[in-house]
Each structure stands twice: as structure tokens, then as C-alpha cells.
Assembly symmetry: C2
């Protein structure tokens, strides 16, 4: 069995810092990079981003929707990009936000987390609208193979507030319930002092108090979109995440990718240095 995902994330952050490079081949970015808006453009975009990330960061996050836009040909490109990233020793978080029940959810987990699957990644983002319990088959499969899940908990887009801050029969907000139930899963299987393998998606600009969130145990990775062009800066990380800040995976896409293929490596280097500086500040 592979090392536990929680510990693999911790090692990646220890070695390279929190920056996670998003692989988001948006049509407008493909055009900026001089690539065609088709599966071969996606492939080129993804492989060049992996090449620039290799040795500079520990984690990459392909955004699945931009590959899905081209159907099976787009998925073939994604398979190559994921394989190249994993071969380079990068941790790959497939940002697919899948969510279903029973054997249907199991099939998603098998697609993204089963060793030998053509789409095999290290972790998958998942959606808890059908209940965290509906994801149990995915938790089991992930644990069995040293893989991880990031469960959507609190996002920073304004349209999300009404639902995610609704109050459940437990008296807690939806976001807090998700954190509580997932943390209980981590507690069952995480050796003392290690990180849980089931993390959360919590936007970098979310106000934890407003969202009903509090520090949780066991510590588990927090995938935080919203750094870079969406408004949060590396210097904000410790302030925003407090005692949880060591577990943040800071995801940036456009702020890095808009440097274009020739400027990509330098953009990543500069950003990694900013996170390093901020962690000392």
C-alpha cells in the first residue's frame, strides 16, 4: 500500500511550499498561449505546465471541465497530462467535483483513484450535496490505495452563501457539518500526529466565523482556491487560516498561467518565493 495521502501532502508542502499550480486550459488562455482550442491544444498546454511545475512545486490541479469540453479526445489529453505529472513526482489533485450515491459514486472513485485507471490521480475533489455519507465508498477506496479526497465545504463565490450557511438539524451550518463528519472519518484512520487524507475545499477569501467554521482535528489538507487573481495574496495565508495555515494547499491558476509558456517557470519561481517569504514574515 502507498503512503497515506495526508502525509504525502504534508511532505510536498514541507519540501516545496503550499503553492499548487492549477492546470486550467480555458479557451482564452489557449488563445493567449498561441495554442489551438482543441484536444491537441489542451495536451500541449497541460504538458508545458507540468514541465514548468516539475521541481518548482509539489502539487498540481488539473481542472477537469476544460478537458471534458472536448469529450473523449479531451479526456485522452488529460490522461497524458496526469501521467506526466505523476511521473515527475508531482501530486495530482483532479478537480472534478464529482458527487453521487452508492455504486454510482463508487464508479467515480474508481475512475479517478483506482491504481491503473487511465485517469488515476492522487486525489479528487468531491461534492457533498447528497450527504457526506453518500461518499463513503469513495472514502473507503481512497484509504485502501493511499489516495485523498477534498470535500467541498465552504466556497467564496457569493451565490454559495444561502445554501452553505443554512442551518441543519444539528444546529450547525452546512459547511461546519461537512467539516465535522469528514473529520470523524479522518479520526477513525489517522495515526496520532499525522494528517488526515480527507481534506476540504475552503475558499481563500471565506470568513471562517461568518461561515460557521472553526479549527478542526485531525489536521487535514485544505485546498484553497482564491489565491492570485481571485483576491488573496500569499501574505494573507497565515492571517486567514490561523492555526490551520500549515495545511493549506494554495491553488493558483490564471495568476500563473497568464504568464504564457515562455514566462511560466519564472512566474512559478516568483510566486513560490512570495509564499516562502510570507511564511517567514
Amino acid at each position: 500500500m502507498s503512503a497515506r495521502f495526508g502525509e504525502r501532502v504534508r511532505a510536498a508542502i514541507d519540501a516545496r511550499g503550499p503553492l499548487c499550480v492549477g492546470i486550467d486550459p480555458h479557451a482564452s488562455l489557449l488563445a493567449e498561449w498561441g495554442l489551438s482550442d482543441d484536444a491537441s491544444g489542451l495536451r500541449e498546454f497541460g504538458l508545458r505546465t507540468v514541465e514548468a511545475a516539475d521541481g518548482r512545486v509539489g502539487i498540481v490541479k488539473p481542472q477537469v471541465s476544460f478537458f471534458e469540453r472536448f469529450g473523449s479526445a479531451g479526456f485522452a489529453a488529460l490522461e497524458e497530462v496526469i501521467a506526466a505529472a505523476r511521473a515527475a513526482g508531482l501530486l495530482v489533485i483532479a478537480d472534478a467535483k464529482r458527487g453521487d450515491i452508492g455504486s454510482t459514486m463508487d464508479a467515480y472513485a474508481q475512475a479517478w483513484l483506482r491504481p491503473g485507471s487511465p485517469l488515476e490521480a492522487d486525489a479528487l475533489t468531491v461534492n457533498p450535496f447528497l450527504g457526506v455519507g453518500a461518499l463513503d465508498g469513495a472514502f473507503d477506496l481512497a484509504r485502501e490505495h493511499g489516495k485523498g479526497l477534498f470535500v467541498l465545504a465552504a466556497t467564496s463565490n457569493p451565490e454559495a452563501t444561502v445554501l452553505q450557511r443554512s442551518v441543519s438539524a444539528t444546529g450547525r451550518a452546512v459547511s461546519a457539518d461537512v467539516v465535522s463528519v469528514v473529520s470523524a472519518r479522518n479520526a477513525e484512520h489517522t495515526p496520532a500526529g499525522e494528517w488526515g487524507s480527507f481534506g476540504f475545499v475552503i475558499g481563500a477569501t471565506v470568513d471562517w466565523t461568518d461561515a460557521g467554521l472553526a479549527a478542526f482535528t485531525p489536521l487535514a489538507p485544505i485546498l484553497a482556491p482564491g489565491f492570485g487573481s481571485q483576491g488573496a495574496a500569499p501574505a494573507d495565508l497565515r492571517h486567514r487560516f490561523g492555526s490551520m495555515s500549515s495545511a493549506v494547499v494554495a491553488s493558483e491558476s490564471r495568476s500563473i498561467l497568464s504568464a504564457g509558456p515562455s514566462g511560466l517557470s519564472a512566474a512559478i519561481d516568483a510566486r513560490v518565493a512570495e509564499y516562502r517569504e510570507a511564511s517567514r514574515g
Copy 2:
């Protein structure tokens, strides 16, 4: 521009009844059918199901996760299955439960609803955890092309209750909020007396009162999983959905698919007759 999706669903139900045949190539069903558990097995399973559905029902619903399990090769099989169904005049609901924000959500909508996309279906199931407003780009794209969306509103799995019955700042349960906001989108664009093109997923065994749901306008299609092997019978349809029952798309998978390739047509015929009988009862 194509006819509006809401009216296309109404016409399909008028012509053939509410039964929607799920295309769920679960590993155990592939084995029962004597097919290999790989992309060629999926393709064969899907095409045979389409062939049996053709002329018997109006709507089919491929379950995307079972195709995704085989990555790009599975998606290539799905593309063939969807194309065969649409060529036969069947309405195709891609059951993918996608949900994201902004341009990422737009890319999912383009994948499944844009004319000419390799995965082009007639409608897509979507997940509102990030807010119904986060789906607005998909609403716009669907409307532009005469396509539909089915928004997860109230599911019947027990793990879903805590989240979906949480109470929002509006004073309503999450499920009721989803129905309210989506119905407002329908109201903006639905001619009087027609059906909205943005429907809901509401489990066949959900108790509407417990779930905080009530009849809504404009009428819009309700995709109801849970008929067949999950516990609801055709005779329950009018009782469970009341004044909304004419808009129900009754989805069945295992109850039909377990008849195997040689018994499939007869199983569909028998089930269609049961719904016809129940609607007279």
C-alpha cells in the same frame, strides 16, 4: 433554434409515457449480460439498450460515472451511445451531476449541451451545492440551444437529509430554495401554458412535506429516480407527485436492465404498459 426542452419533454411523455430507461453499465450488469468489463462492453451494453428503447420510450438517461470509469475510452463509448440515442429520436438526459462556478461551470455546459460537442445530449443533471446562481452560465447556454437542466433538489438517500433539509436565511429548506430559485429562472423564459426547461431531480420516495417541498410553477420536468428496484411502483406516481405528476420522468435502471439483452424489449414493453395502466387508474 430548436424547440424548447420543456416542450420536448412534454411531447415525449405525451407520446410514450413517463418511463425513462437508465443506461447504467454497472460491472455486475455487464457480467450478467455476458459482456466484458471494459469500454467495448460499455459500448455494446449502451447500444443494445438504445435499440430496445427506440420506439418504446421517449427518454433515456446514461449514467456518466459508469463510462468515466474507463477514462477516454469509456467516454468514446458514451459518445457513440448518446449519438445513437439521439439519432433514434430519443431525448437523452446525461446524468453527470456536474456543478462548479463561472467559466468552469460554463465548460461543463459546453461539454454536454453545446450543439456539435462530441458528448452533446439534450439535458444534463447538475448539482447546486455552490449555489443555483453559480449555474447561471449553464442556464443561459441551455436556453440558447433548446437544451435542459435537471437541478438536484431532493434525493431519497437517507444520508442526504441533514444537508437538504437545512434551513436557509430565507426560512426555507435547502430543497425548497433550489426549487424556488430555479422556478424563477423558468418564469423569466417560459411562455404561458408551456413547461419550463429547467427541471429538478426529486426522488420518487421523497415525502414532499417532510422535504419542505410544494407544487411549483411554471410546471417543469421532474426527473424521479427510485421507480423500479428502488421501491416506488408506477401505481404510486400520481399519489406521490400529486398535481405535479404529469411532469414526472420516471427513471428506472436495474429493474429493466436486469432482464438481460434478450429480455430487455419485453421488460420495457411490460413496464410502459404498467405506467399506462396506472395513469388510467
